[in-house]
């Protein structure tokens, strides 16, 4: 008995030590001879596979010279990054969430790359995709994204409704938009929202879905004349009449016109809701196109409606940066260039719909180059206008809040519950106004403590 116990204990201790040894530290061993770069990134399965493919290509082309190791972070990227930096173990090159870019830049974690760029490079890049700190370029958007309306063309065809427009000049007015959504909102008996027998409690397909996301709602707000920040950029502007009107409109879409689901109702949606007819239109970004391409429905792209100030889009990308702690910035830039080149191993990613190049010249403007990545099933013809055309209109691009609201997490603590409340309950105009004023007051009172508007050297944009 004694011997058995002793043996068991020895074995377990040995295993424990082995386990510890195997696990200590997350960084893989350096190859010794040539430099190894770590690249941290996020993304769903498709992106992970595509990125790993790029890395493999790059490594194959640079055998013996440099090796890139990809670290895919499944979730909580910000947390991972923060704690890695706190532990003094930065990657060489990584995605940086827009919300953390300025924090990291101001703390000196990112490398200014102006000296690594080939001459004239910056002129070819979409203006919105260049991330500067203190006047120096410290990051580029991983890919351009342009939020727009995705719709299921089959549903529109089935109900004999015309498709939403994809050209900026044809953007729908608010009333036209509501009417369109109503005609594709259908209850279980087949009646659309304009029908007298429409049953608002038994809706089969909603016309539209945006979800309780501030970024999406901002598209409506900006078109309505609202702005995220007030005129002197010291505070948010949520109690402005334009914001209140926008939120009231959202509330009406859900509770009066019933063309949008409440957040609770959207919990019950099946996977691939756009394909499965949970809703006919939604606001989406680039990252979904790759998934859509593999599904069995006809995708259409449309511009956002025009509430008075033109249709808007937003580009909420991830940013890619090289880190100051990297020992091989030139090699990291090489890998970066490789990744950005549409024709160089990353074609599936761009053509497949996941990424949109950040260099408008030549990838948007030259027809031949454009065809390389858009002339396929993943890209409907309408995409060219709804996305690319919008990307070239800087005045119609909503600046990404996360890019200047440095403490976006704390900011969301106040804003998200208000959005949930407004979207979850039928409300009168005054109630919506009251809610928005309360939110604004809370932000005003607590901004100093959280440091939400401590811009450091960030240039907030309006």
């Amino acid at each position: 008995m004694r011997k058995l116990v002793t043996t068991l204990l020895t074995v377990t201790m040995a295993l424990a030590v082995l386990g510890l040894a195997a696990a200590c530290g997350g960084s893989p061993a350096a190859s010794g001879d040539y430099p190894t770069l770590t690249f941290m990134y996020w993304g769903g399965l498709d992106e992970q596979n595509a990125v790993e493919a790029i890395i493999e290509d790059f490594n194959a082309q640079n055998e013996g010279r440099v090796r890139v190791i990809g670290e895919h972070i499944a979730a909580d990227f910000g947390t991972v990054m923060n704690t890695r930096l706190a532990a003094g173990n930065p990657p060489d090159i990584a995605y940086t969430a827009a919300g953390t870019f300025y924090t990291m830049a101001s703390e000196g974690h990112l490398l200014a790359v102006d000296h690594l760029l080939p001459p004239g490079f910056l002129d070819t890049v979409v203006h919105d995709a260049i991330w500067r700190y203190n006047g120096q370029v410290m990051g580029f958007s991983t890919a351009q994204v342009n939020l727009m309306i995705y719709y299921n063309a089959d549903i529109f065809a089935r109900h004999g409704v015309e498709r939403p427009p994809h050209r900026f000049d044809d953007a729908l007015s608010w009333d036209q938009f509501v009417n369109l959504a109503q005609r594709v909102t259908v209850d279980r008996n087949g009646n659309n929202a304009l029908h007298p027998d429409f049953n608002p409690n038994q809706i089969d397909t909603f016309g539209f879905n945006t979800g309780p996301w501030l970024n999406n709602i901002a598209l409506f707000a900006y078109s309505n004349g609202a702005r995220m920040l007030n005129e002197d950029l010291t505070n948010t502007d949520f109690d402005s009449p334009e914001w209140i009107d926008t939120m009231y409109k959202m509330n009406r879409l859900i509770h009066h016109y019933r063309v949008m689901p409440t957040p609770a109702e959207s919990e019950g949606f099946p996977e691939n809701p756009l394909m499965n007819g949970a809703f006919a239109m939604s606001i989406g970004g680039r990252w979904e196109m790759m998934a859509f391409a593999q599904l069995d429905f006809e995708l259409g792209c449309a511009v956002m409606p025009n509430l008075g100030h033109g249709a808007f889009t937003m580009s909420p990308p991830g940013v890619t940066s090289i880190f100051a702690g990297s020992e091989h910035p030139e090699l990291a830039w090489e890998f970066w260039e490789f990744k950005m080149d549409v024709e160089n191993g990353a074609t599936e990613l761009y053509a497949g719909g996941l990424w949109q190049p950040i260099q408008h010249d030549p990838w948007y403007t030259d027809p031949a180059a454009l065809a390389v990545w858009t002339d396929n099933d993943a890209h409907p013809a309408s995409f060219r206008y709804a996305a690319l055309d919008m990307a070239m209109r800087p005045s119609q691009i909503v600046p990404l809040p996360a890019s200047y609201l440095v403490r976006i997490g704390e900011h969301q603590q106040y804003v998200t519950p208000a959005i949930q409340e407004i979207m979850g309950n039928p409300m009168t105009f005054d109630q919506v106004a009251e809610t928005m004023r309360t939110v604004q007051q809370q932000i005003t009172d607590n901004a100093a403590f959280h440091g939400i508007f401590n811009y450091d050297n960030v240039l907030p944009r309006r």
Binding site: R2, A16, L20, A23, G25, R84, A86, P270
Partner: protein, 281 residues
């Protein structure tokens, strides 16, 4: 009207059986639902009205779910942590229990009560500084914060349990051995430990369970997916599994299964463990 005693008894038993049957059904249904959802594809899952039984049974869900994330790795990781923790707790808790029960040394009582009182402290108080300390020591994203505490006495619960149990063992054994010239260490290892098997088994089982189900510690310390435990991997499936309920249920079932098996094999130790705490103390 008075019923005869036996009729009254029969009525009572019938009521009881009915209640028990309803109860068991209600407690069992979620398990059934988990397995049933795990074996359906999403088309069946979202059918309205709800389809109760999977038809056809989609066995592929299980391998598909397990392969979409490196589950074999997560199993291995969790298993390693479990073994390391069980060994640590079993050894150091019993050592501490021995010291607190058998040996006389200054500060024993004070320290014991101090140790017990830690059970009342909210986890957050120690969690945050412990996290900072480990991070500053560079142990972030390793398994060190998940293993070392077990080797330093385990938990107050395990020390307490061990000490209570030691108190039930007669001292004559120690004394006889002392007279024979045995050292404390020998007394502990050779004579007493074998007698401790029941409580060691309990400690082992509860530590196994605690480690297997632990979420908060892996959550804050581990960021590299290669080190993830099963609980953490499941919690972080916000990517591909966000709305994929069939995969999510399949993965949940797989994470649950070993616990259920362990329970059935070691049933009596679960009950023993809780009763050994001596709640009335």
């Amino acid at each position: 009207m008075t019923m005869s005693r036996t009729t009254a008894r029969r009525v009572k038993l019938t009521i009881c059986y009915t209640l028990v049957a309803i109860l068991s059904f209600l407690f069992f249904v979620p398990f059934f639902w988990m397995v049933r959802s795990a074996l359906m594809d999403t088309a069946q899952l979202f059918r309205y009205p709800i389809q109760i039984f999977p038809n056809p049974i989609v066995w592929e869900n299980i391998p598909n779910a397990l392969q979409s994330q490196p589950f074999a790795l997560f199993f291995r990781n969790t298993f390693i942590l479990v073994i390391a923790n069980v060994a640590g707790v079993v050894i150091t808790s019993s050592m501490a229990g021995y010291a607190f029960s058998r040996l006389a040394w200054r500060g024993k009582k004070l320290l014991f009560y101090a140790l017990l009182s830690t059970m009342m402290i909210p986890g957050f108080i120690t969690l945050i500084p412990t996290f900072l300390i480990w991070t500053n020591l560079g142990a972030h994203n390793t398994w060190i914060p998940l293993i070392v505490p077990s080797w330093l006495g385990g938990t107050a619960f395990s020390v307490f349990l061990s000490r209570q149990f030691f108190l039930t063992i007669p001292r004559e054994l120690d004394e006889a051995a002392l007279i024979d010239g045995a050292s404390q260490w020998k007394i502990f290892w050779v004579i007493l430990m074998p007698l401790l098997r029941p409580v060691l088994a309990v400690l082992a089982i509860f530590t196994f369970m605690g480690t297997w189900n632990d979420l908060i510690n892996p959550l804050i310390y581990l960021t590299d997916q290669r080190l993830f435990t099963l609980s953490l991997a499941l919690a972080r499936f916000r990517g591909p599994f966000a709305t994929q309920w069939d995969f999510l249920m399949a993965a949940s079932a797989i994470v649950t299964l070993p616990m259920v098996v362990v329970f059935f094999v070691f049933q009596r130790y679960f009950i023993e463990g809780i009763t050994l705490t001596g709640i009335k103390a």
